[in-house]
Symmetry: C2
Subunit: 191 residues, 2 copies
């Protein structure tokens, strides 16, 4: 297979679709983020990359806390809106009709309608250029009661949004099952 | 909606499915990684979280470089195998039939069968506890020629794998289109 070189890019597929929240000047604000993921298992940590010019960035710096909210497929319009609009010029929470709650950290705002909410305390803020990579220790995980099955998170009930970036810039659902992790590769073992 | 608290967790959905590569003692090795993402736009950077005990971790430390390879749905078995087996006890490249190539960095091994390959040079290695978060500057992006449409990456041809973690532990395809990013939220603007 011939390979074509495109220069240094951020061509990673697929990515999650997240709503990162922070209080800015005491008021909750959220932005859509695809550049976020898990950073550590023990203790549990997440990392999110936020452009320095974003209003949310200011809030994270102010409080040293942020939240990561996982929107479900039915919140795709509200999620996209939080990626387009700026909290500096309006109230995204009111525009989206989000109901806000706070948890153990006290100042990381979370969205009740999002099935999963993780509150984080900043442990590292790496200035990488255009973006700051905020690494946050997870203080608490909140899950909507109706997204649990037998007390465990049921991803089929969460219906998270897959982000497919440049050049497509599309939101997708989670598609067909391809295989069970830590199992489907077993048949290659001992080959 | 009532919320249930699960304690500090890494409950992020969905995640990407990546194959991270490094030379270890001069030989190419790969591991499956869901804890990876984009860290910066300008200059382009990626971040991957690797457990300190992994063989690949040793290789990244050795060379200061790694690759991120995006497997397509038809490589799901090989990908999972790279998450189960250890390069310390076998040759995963041979077991999977991977054809290896090198790029501009010279020592970050890449998999020809993966439609997208990003070679990275470590700029930060954050020791977070169980994992090291390696932040790498992208030196070059390689894309299989048949995954381009009019010279641009065509994600429909890549067919990347979505990872749905605990407790499901499943690989999925990218599902139905929910909306166009930076567009579907426009109707909430000026509400």
């Amino acid at each position: 297979m011939a390979k074509v070189q495109l220069g240094p890019k951020t061509s990673l597929y697929p990515l999650p679709t997240l709503l990162v929240g922070a209080n800015v000047k005491g008021k909750p604000n959220f932005m859509a983020v695809a550049w976020g993921g898990v950073a550590n298992a023990d203790p549990p940590m997440l990392a999110v990359a936020i452009r320095g010019s974003r209003y949310t960035h200011q809030g994270i710096k102010e409080n040293g806390t942020f939240s990561v909210n996982i929107p479900s497929a039915e919140l795709v319009k509200e999620t996209d809106y939080c990626g387009i609009a700026s909290g500096a010029r309006g109230d995204k929470v009111a525009d989206c009709g989000f109901r806000i709650f706070y948890g153990t950290l006290g100042n990381a705002p979370m969205i009740e309608q999002c099935p999963v909410n993780l509150e984080c305390k900043v442990v590292h803020a790496l200035e990488l250029g255009s973006h700051t990579l905020f690494v946050g220790g997870v203080a608490e995980t909140h899950v909507s009661e109706d997204c649990l099955t037998d007390g465990r998170v049921d991803v089929k009930k969460i219906r998270p949004i897959v982000y497919v970036g440049e050049p497509a810039r599309e939101y997708h659902g989670v598609g067909e099952l391809l295989g069970q992790a830590f199992r489907v590769g077993q048949e290659l073992k001992g080959k």
